[in-house]
Amino acid sequence: MQSMSLYVEKDTFVHRIDPISKIFYIIASIAISFILQTFTITIICLVINLILLLTGRVFKNVLPLIGYSSLVLVTIVIIQGLFNPGNKTALFELGPLTFYTEGLKFAALICLRVINILCAFSVLILTTRPSNLIEELIRKGVSPKIGYVLSSVLQIIPQMVSTMGKITDAQRARGMETEGNLFKRIKAFIPLIGPVVMSSLIQTRERAMALEVRGFSSPSKRTFFNQRHTHRYGIYIQALLILVTIAAVVWRIIE
C-alpha cells in the first residue's frame, strides 16, 4: 500500500546521493537565487535543478506540481503586469487593460524563483525515500521523538484507509446511504467522522503506552536496523555547496 509520499522509486545517481546533501542543496539553491537577484543567476539555478531532475528521471513528476502552482503564478503575472507601482513602459494592451514591461519583468523573476524552489524541493522529495531521510536526520542528532512523529505522518494514509474502510462498512450495514447526490454524501460524513476521531483519540493514548513499553524512553544509544548508506561524495558535495554560497555572498558584497 502506498504510504503518503511523493517518492518515486528509481535507481539513479541523484537517488543515491545522501539526503543531508540534498537538504544542503535546497538551502544553497534558494539562498543563492535570493542573494544574487539577477535573471541570469536564477535561470542558471533553474537549469541545474532541471538537469538534476532529468538525471533522476523524475522530471515528469514535477510537472503536476508546477501545474498546481500555475494558478498562483498566473495571478502574480496579471497583478504585477497591471498594477506594479514601478510600471511605466506599456508592453501590450488587452482590451481596456494595459500590461507594463516593468511589472511583467518583476513577475517573471518571481515566477522563476517559485519554480526554482519547487524544483529544488522536488529534487529532495522525489528522489529520497522518506524513511531514509528521517533516519538520516535521527542519526545526525534529531530527537527520535520528532522522527517518530514524522514517520507516523507517512503512515496516516494506510492507517486511515484501514480504519475508514471498517467504519464505512459498519455504517453502511446500518442502512446509511453512501452513494447518491452530494447532500446524501455530506450527510453520510458525520457517522463516519465520529468513530474515526474517537478511535484516534483512544488509540493515541494506547499507542503512547505501547511505545513506552518498547523502550522508547530508553537512554541507551540507539542502533539502526537499516543499513547506513555511506555516500562517499556526501561530504564533498556539502563542502562545495557551502563554498558556492559563500562566494555568492562575497560577490554580492563586492557589487
Binding site: 471498517k166 462498512d169 446500518r174 446509511m176 446511504e177 457517522p191 465520529g194 474517537m198 478511535s199 483512544i202
Partner: protein, 277 residues
C-alpha cells in the same frame, strides 16, 4: 422460498486473488455457525451476504432479492450484520440514540424506531444505561450496544461476527440467551465464531469453510463427528466431543450434560452386566 440462497458464488480481490471459489448454500430457519481458520473466507462471505461486496460471479438471493441489484441500505431491512469491533460504528453520545440510528436509516418512523430500540435494549439487558455515553461503558457492554443496534432494525436474518471475543463466562451466557430469544422470534441467526464449545451448545447447523470453499456442512452433531475433515480444515471438535470419542462412545456428545448422561447410562449397563455374570 429460502431466506438465503447462494448459487455458485465466487469472489476475487482487485489484485486477482480468488477468495471464494464456488459456494452454493441455502439457509432457512436453522441457526447456523460458520467456522474455519482465519483466512478461509468467512468474513468475505458474510460481507457478500450483506451486500457490502458484490459477487465476481454467481449470485446471492436474500428473501428473493438479488444482492447485485439491491443497495446495502435496502438489504438492511432484511439482513443485519453485527461487526466485531463496536468502536468502528459508535458515534452518538447516548446509547439510545446510537441504537435508533439504524432503524431510522431504513425508514422506520421515529415512534417505531424508539420502541424497537427500547425492546432491543431490554433484550441485551442495558435498559438502565439508555442515556449513558456508549464510551462510558466497558468493552463487553459496548459490544452489546452494537448488537442491540442491529436487533432494533428488526431484520429477519442476523449475522454476528465473533460475538464471544473478549466476553467472560457471564457475557457468553448472555449472548447465548439473546440468540435463543431471537431464534424463538423466528429469526435466522448466522455466526462466525472460533469457540467450538459455544457452537456445540448453541447452534443446530454448522458450515465449515476451508480455503474459499465449503468443506463440510450439516447439523452440528454430524459435522463435529467428522474429525477427518475438521482436521483438514485446521479445526477441532469441541472439548466434550473429543473426550467422548476417546472414551469410546459411539455418540457424538455436544454438551457436558450429554456426556455425563451417557457415562451414567454406560455405568448402569456395566453394573448390570457384572451382576448377570
Amino acid at each position: 422460498m429460502s431466506k438465503i440462497e447462494v448459487r455458485d458464488l465466487k469472489y476475487s480481490y482487485e489484485n486477482g486473488i480468488e477468495v471464494l471459489k464456488g459456494i452454493s448454500l441455502t439457509f432457512d430457519q436453522i441457526s447456523t455457525a460458520i467456522i474455519g481458520q482465519n483466512g478461509a473466507g468467512k468474513t468475505t462471505f458474510v460481507k457478500l451476504l450483506k451486500g457490502l461486496l458484490k459477487p465476481s460471479s454467481g449470485c446471492i438471493l436474500i428473501n428473493g432479492k438479488d444482492t447485485q441489484d439491491t443497495t446495502v441500505a435496502e438489504l438492511s431491512k432484511d439482513i443485519g450484520l453485527v461487526f466485531q469491533n463496536p468502536n468502528d460504528q459508535i458515534f452518538k453520545s447516548k446509547v439510545i440514540d446510537e441504537i435508533m440510528f439504524g432503524p431510522l436509516n431504513i425508514g422506520q418512523s421515529p415512534e417505531k424506531a424508539k420502541s424497537n430500540a427500547e425492546q432491543a435494549l431490554e433484550m441485551v439487558g442495558l435498559e438502565d444505561r439508555r442515556y449513558d455515553n456508549p464510551y462510558d461503558l466497558n468493552l463487553s457492554d459496548r459490544k452489546l450496544v452494537g448488537l442491540a443496534s442491529v436487533i432494533a432494525m428488526d431484520p429477519e436474518i442476523l449475522i454476528l461476527d465473533e460475538p464471544t471475543i473478549a466476553q467472560d463466562y457471564a457475557g457468553k451466557e448472555k449472548i447465548k440467551g439473546i440468540i435463543k430469544k431471537l431464534q424463538d422470534q423466528g429469526k435466522l441467526i448466522l455466526t462466525i465464531i472460533h469457540d467450538m464449545d459455544f457452537v456445540a451448545e448453541t447452534f443446530e447447523r454448522v458450515v465449515v469453510f476451508n480455503q474459499g470453499k465449503v468443506l463440510l456442512e450439516g447439523n452440528t452433531r454430524e459435522v463435529f463427528n467428522n474429525s477427518r475433515l475438521l482436521k483438514e480444515a485446521g479445526l477441532e471438535s469441541p472439548h466434550v466431543t473429543q473426550l467422548g470419542k476417546k472414551l469410546g462412545y459411539n455418540q457424538t456428545f455436544l454438551t457436558v450434560e450429554e456426556l455425563v448422561q451417557g457415562h451414567r447410562v454406560r455405568q448402569g449397563h456395566g453394573t448390570r452386566f457384572l451382576f448377570h455374570q
